[in-house]
């Protein structure tokens, strides 16, 4: 195995180290295993051969279960988790802070406040179809507000995080107030949404979210170089020719959009955006595209696994995946802290 691969095209050359990519391959394999298991396990358990038959005959009874119920649900979970993982990685990279993630910086709270407001005020007249739009708008306008509030001749990363925490608390209070003030049935469905759930996912949701993710992912490809430079000190980055403020704003828009679309279709998942990048960092110390891809894959794995647990562990009940995301993520995070101290 060579130590580097060199890609040379006219006007473009790149050194690729294969080592982290091999680990990416391993994690990809893990994600596929999780996907396979979540297709096979459920109220109607299937063996491997039954699963194969079901996947090839979409009209059979098992085929319907797998292709119309389990597959879109697992895929939606994977997309939501992947987008949150990427968004968290971007936030941590840009804000140079291991605590930064869409849910702590306030983007998720903005989406939540907008979505819960939509639930209790507009959903009766307009139906649920516009909910994702409300959540995306909420996320984006919150990100914009935080950015403006943090602006003092430029935006410093730490100030951004702290102001995000403040804005997040404010929006959390608004959400709580709406929950308290609205009737109990609305409160309950809004509460499940706030936990984060991919319950009753269908193919149209999957394609819509996949479209957004593809769009944002494509936008990220030319930006990847800049994300790797973002953790540098402002003065240093300026010195090597990065337009610091401009880059920061651009990356924040992409990260907020990613969190916004994920939350719009999956609900306010906490912890994925915080923990998935840390997992990626544990596997690969070198910051690079491979690490970002790992964060995406870990996020996808987390949500898929959490949903799998949520719908199988307490079987007559189908619990929101968000509960299990935190149940997996928080202990991991605490052990990470304890181990670092030694």
């Amino acid at each position: 195995m060579p130590e580097h691969w060199v890609i040379r095209l006219p006007g473009f050359s790149r050194i690729v180290t294969p080592e982290p990519w091999r680990r990416v391959g391993a994690i990809l394999l893990l994600s596929l295993v999780v996907l396979g298991v979540s297709l096979a396990v459920g109220r109607v358990p299937l063996s491997l051969s039954q699963l194969g038959v079901a996947l090839t005959t979409p009209t059979s009874e098992n085929g319907l279960i797998v292709i119309q119920l389990r597959l879109p649900r697992a895929l939606l979970g994977a997309l939501v988790g992947g987008a949150l993982g990427m968004s968290g990685w971007l936030f941590q990279q840009v804000m140079r802070n291991p605590l930064a993630s869409p849910d702590i910086v306030g983007v998720t709270s903005g989406a939540s406040a907008a979505a819960v407001g939509y639930f209790s005020l507009l959903a009766t007249n307009w139906g649920m179809a516009w909910l994702p739009l409300a959540a995306i708008l909420g996320a984006l306008s919150t990100a914009f507000a935080i950015y403006l509030l943090a602006w003092q001749r430029g935006v410093a990363p730490l100030r951004l995080v702290l102001i995000g925490i403040g804005v997040s608390a404010l929006l959390g209070a608004v959400t709580t107030f709406i929950l308290v003030a609205s009737p109990l049935t609305t409160t309950l469905s809004a509460y499940v949404w706030l936990t984060g759930s991919v319950y009753a996912a269908n193919w149209s949701e999957v394609t819509a979210l996949a479209g957004w993710c593809a769009l944002l992912g494509a936008a990220l490809i030319p930006l990847m170089r800049l994300t790797l430079l973002a953790p540098l000190d402002d003065a240093l980055a300026t010195g090597i020719g990065v337009r610091v403020q401009w880059t920061r704003a651009l990356l924040l828009v992409v990260a907020s959009m990613l969190a916004g679309v994920a939350v719009a279709w999956g609900g306010a998942f906490a912890f994925v955006g915080l923990v998935a990048p840390h997992m990626a960092r544990m596997i690969s110390r070198t910051t690079g595209t491979a690490q970002a891809v790992m964060a995406v894959l870990f996020g996808a794995c987390m949500v898929m696994l959490a949903d799998l647990l949520g719908r199988t562990l307490f079987l007559p009940l189908d619990l929101p995946a968000g509960i299990f995301v935190a149940a997996i993520g928080a202990p991991f995070f605490l052990t990470l802290l304890i181990r670092q101290r030694r």
């Binding site: 605590l99 702590i104 709580t176 929950l179 936990t195 402002d234 307490f314 149940a327 928080a330 605490l334």
Partner: protein, 328 residues
């Protein structure tokens, strides 16, 4: 300094009078004087004041004061100006215990709830403290923050799980999520109030040592302070103060974070001034927030926890902007 503290005390008395007066029915100061000192058992106004307004005012006062003092102490302890009692996972731990009492064991007695909340707060703070102290020093406040955030998320996830399964429970504990000082009869609440007051009295003799600790752990050790013992005592007092507050009033954001900053802006750099100043200002702030929340959408009420967040978040943002954090 004396004069400023007296001013704060007058402000608090004014706020408490306002809190007794205002609401769906307005009472004059004279009616309140009568209700407090020579009540007649048949008078509706007297009854209303003594059974609902008075407990509410007392709870708001004690909770506001406790949270502010706890906030002041934790900011000294962690040397982090943005620390607040909720950081130790106290609120989330208390909530988790209450939710499990309500939805798993269907306990409906307020006594059990209060005890449970205190227990949950202690456990959560203990775990966070243990995780953060693994290196035998608090030199990295970031670790405390991270551990607190992680434990908060974990507890909240379990609370959410229980509430999603047991949907009746959500209705019962929703006020706890929102934070409220209403509907606490004095007959059940007095042990918590007295516990908080005792804890606040215990803070007072530590104020001088806290001044030394504020100079830095190494310096404090150098001049002969038993740092570890002081830190442990401070944590216990913080848990007592914040725990009783959560048990009485639920999630109340920002009081513990902001009041110390306001108080420090007006008082000399000395914990012996800060502690009483924080207590008085905290009580005033929570009383005013409760009064505003009571009258602003009149047939209904805005929970006081929501009000403090609405007031507190802009102050917090302004604080950060003024401090001018430049580098991470």
């Amino acid at each position: 300094m004396r004069r400023r503290l007296w001013l704060f005390a007058v402000a608090m008395l004014g706020a408490s009078l306002l809190s007794l007066m205002s609401g769906a029915y307005w009472f004059g100061p004279l009616t309140i004087w009568q209700a407090l000192w020579s009540p007649s058992p048949t008078d509706v106004a007297d009854l209303l004041i003594r059974t609902t307004r008075l407990p509410r005012t007392l709870v708001a006062m004690v909770v506001g004061a406790s949270l502010a003092v706890a906030g002041c102490m934790i900011q000294t302890l962690t040397r982090n100006p943005l620390a607040s009692p909720g950081l130790l996972g106290i609120n989330a731990g208390a909530l988790l215990v209450i939710v499990s009492l309500v939805s798993v064991w269907t306990v409906m007695s307020p006594w059990a709830w209060y005890a449970g909340a205190l227990l949950g707060a202690t456990l959560a703070a203990g775990i966070v403290w243990w995780v953060a102290m693994r290196g035998r020093s608090l030199s990295g406040p970031l670790h405390l923050v991270l551990a607190g955030a992680a434990l908060t998320a974990l507890c909240n996830a379990f609370s959410q799980a229980l509430l999603v399964i047991d949907q009746q429970g959500l209705d019962t504990v929703l006020f706890w999520l929102a934070g409220s000082v209403a509907g606490r009869p004095l007959a059940t609440i007095w042990p918590l109030i007295s516990l908080a007051l005792i804890a606040m009295l215990c803070v007072w003799p530590l104020a001088r040592s806290m001044n030394v600790l504020a100079a830095g752990e190494a310096v404090a050790k150098g001049v002969g302070l038993r740092v570890y013992r002081l830190q442990a005592m401070m944590v216990i007092l913080i848990v007592l103060l914040a725990g009783t507050s959560v048990a009485m009033a639920g999630n109340i954001a920002f009081v513990g974070l902001i009041v110390p900053h306001i108080a420090k802006g007006w008082l000399p750099v000395d914990h012996r001034a800060w502690i009483p100043g924080c207590a008085l200002l905290g009580a005033t702030l929570l009383l005013l927030a409760d009064v505003v929340g009571r009258v602003v959408i009149l047939p209904g009420e805005v929970p006081v926890g929501v009000m403090t967040a609405l007031i507190g978040a802009p102050v917090f943002v302004a604080l950060i902007r003024r401090q001018g954090v430049r580098h991470a």
